[in-house]
């Protein structure tokens, strides 16, 4: 009897998880173990394997090799599905049913569904819950889908791009609910291309690339690990001169504006002023999650897949 035998199984555990589609490898020996409630942001460039990973966890696709267990069981088991909530990206619900009727239908699937009136209030759906789904705006449809994901009071909640099409107010309201749900003991797995969203919500950030985990840390951890600072300015200096700057990590330009990523701001700034006393429009900032993401994956986080 080892110590680990006494513990509940992890909420989700991937061992050498591999999924191939023909000659394309979507997941390539992925390793991940999630035991704590909270918000996990799953990030990665297009084709990194995020969607395949989520679909495997939902039991919609099977691994080619390796193992994925959810609550210690095989994904897709009905008993497991009663503990999972899901909001998918490209789903359109029955246009002729009202939001309320959809909630009632989904509530019937779960052993311990949420109180519908309370859920409608919590998600602020009251003003359009009795309208037919097909008549709603894109944002309202997303909010109904979000409420459907919560109706079973899940222990594990998958949200795939949950705030696409939402205005700022609705997005912040949804974030508040996600934080609440996570605080009450649910593990929320969030895939998003809004890094601001991941930054605002995630306790843990997992970055996938080519079907593997390339980073697994907190958002702050990722930023700190990347270190350094971002310097923005307008200067007449050319790239050759700039490449001689101490601690230069990356350099990019947009219009007249120069953007430098450096390991340490002070020596780089000193050198810059020596080289170009005419330097203007100076700004110095901490790297964002976006910067960390680009440094890790070599590409900006983009929409889709």
């Amino acid at each position: 009897m080892t110590v680990s035998d006494d513990l509940a199984p992890p909420i989700l555990k991937a061992d050498a998880l591999t999924r191939r589609y023909g000659r394309k490898t979507a997941l390539d020996g992925l390793e991940l173990s999630l035991s704590e409630p909270g918000v996990l942001a799953l990030l990665g460039p297009n084709g990194a394997g995020k969607t395949t990973f989520v679909q495997t966890a939902l039991g919609l696709t099977r691994p080619s090799s390796g193992r994925l267990s959810v609550f210690g069981a095989r994904p897709g088991d009905r008993a497991i599905r009663t503990r999972i909530g899901v909001m998918m990206q490209d789903t359109d619900l029955a246009h002729t049913l009202t939001g309320r009727e959809l909630l009632e239908l989904f509530a019937s699937y779960y052993p311990d569904p949420a109180d519908l009136d309370a859920l409608i209030e919590r998600c602020a759906l009251g003003s359009f819950i009795r309208q037919r789904y097909g008549k709603l705006s894109g944002g309202q449809k997303r909010r109904i889908q979000f409420a459907l994901a919560l109706v079973g009071q899940p222990d594990l909640l998958f949200l795939d791009e949950p705030t696409t099409g939402l205005d700022t107010e609705a997005r912040r309201a949804l974030w508040a609910i996600v934080r609440d749900v996570a605080a009450s003991g649910t593990l929320v797995i969030l895939t998003t291309h809004y890094l601001e969203e991941a930054d605002a919500l995630a306790d843990r950030v997992v970055v996938l690339k080519d079907g593997r985990v390339i980073a697994d840390d907190t958002a702050d951890g990722l930023r700190t690990r990347m270190g350094g600072a971002i310097i923005e300015c307008v200067t007449a200096l050319d790239d050759d001169a700039l490449n001689a700057l101490p601690g230069l990590i990356a350099l990019s330009r947009s219009g007249r504006k120069l953007r430098l990523q450096v390991s340490n701001a002070v020596p780089a700034l000193k050198a810059l002023f020596e080289l170009d006393p005419e330097l203007s429009d100076l700004g110095v900032a901490q790297p964002t999650l976006e910067d960390a993401f680009e440094a890790l994956t070599g590409q900006p986080q983009t929409e889709g897949a």
Partner: protein, 242 residues
């Protein structure tokens, strides 16, 4: 669990009843044609008992082919069926609910035809025969539902409507639902042998006694065989999806 089946049935009935573009033709057409061919056209009342038997099959075929064929294709394209697999909806609930909704809608259509037959066309049958006829007509839904299901899994939403339309009219005419296949050239009579509509209509005629001598057992076996093939097709199409 029982709750989930009831909720699913309620949702399917609401969905069907809120799609007038689907409900109106499948509800109105059979009783309208029946009234035309069995009541209005002079001398047609002699055929009313015959047409009652065959139009009952026609009335069930429409909701089954369109509700399942077109409905499943659309829900599949919209990702609704994928979502249903991810949530703990009982796997059979959707099938049971859609079949129940189809039979309910078809029953309205059947009721209208029966009423016209009894009160306007002067068809007189014993209560047992009415019940027998109702049973045959309702059970007719099964092979059509399975064919509709296969169609819904194979074709996209737009193509499924077109194919369902062709199947609907083709099986009605070539199956002898509108007029006996004996009036058609011989080759068309041979096509009828593979159509569920033909065998189901012959069974209904056997029960109502309006079709003269029929080889009832042969038609029942043929209908069962076609149903089994339709079930196989539906299973195959469903498995291919996953």
């Amino acid at each position: 669990m029982a709750n989930a089946y009831l909720a699913e049935i309620k949702a399917e009935v609401l969905k069907l009843s809120r799609m007038p573009e689907f409900a109106i033709p499948t509800l109105i057409l059979p009783v309208m044609f029946f009234t035309l061919f069995g009541v209005i056209i002079p001398g047609s009342r002699d055929n009313a008992a015959y047409l009652l038997s065959t139009f009952g099959v026609f009335a069930v075929m429409g909701p089954a082919l369109f509700g399942f064929g077109a409905g499943v294709a659309q829900e599949r394209e919209r990702g609704w069926l994928t979502l249903k697999r991810a949530v703990p909806a009982p796997a059979a609930a959707l099938l049971v609910a859609k079949t129940t909704a189809t039979v309910l809608i078809a029953s309205v259509s059947l009721g209208a035809i029966y009423a016209v037959a009894a009160f306007a066309a002067g068809v007189e049958l014993s209560p047992q025969v009415w019940l027998g006829l109702l049973l045959v007509h309702v059970l007719s839904a099964i092979p059509f539902v399975l064919l509709g299901l296969a169609l819904g899994f194979v074709f996209g939403a737009n193509a499924a409507v077109a194919v369902a339309n062709i199947a609907y009219l083709g099986m009605a005419v070539l199956g002898g639902l509108w007029m006996p296949i004996s009036v058609f050239p011989k080759i068309m009579g041979q096509i009828a042998q593979v159509l569920p509509s033909y065998h189901l209509a012959e069974i209904a005629l056997g029960v109502s006694g309006a079709g003269g001598e029929t080889a009832l057992l042969g038609h029942i076996l043929a209908a069962l065989a076609i149903t089994a093939i339709a079930a196989g097709l539906a299973l195959l199409a469903w498995a291919r999806q996953r």
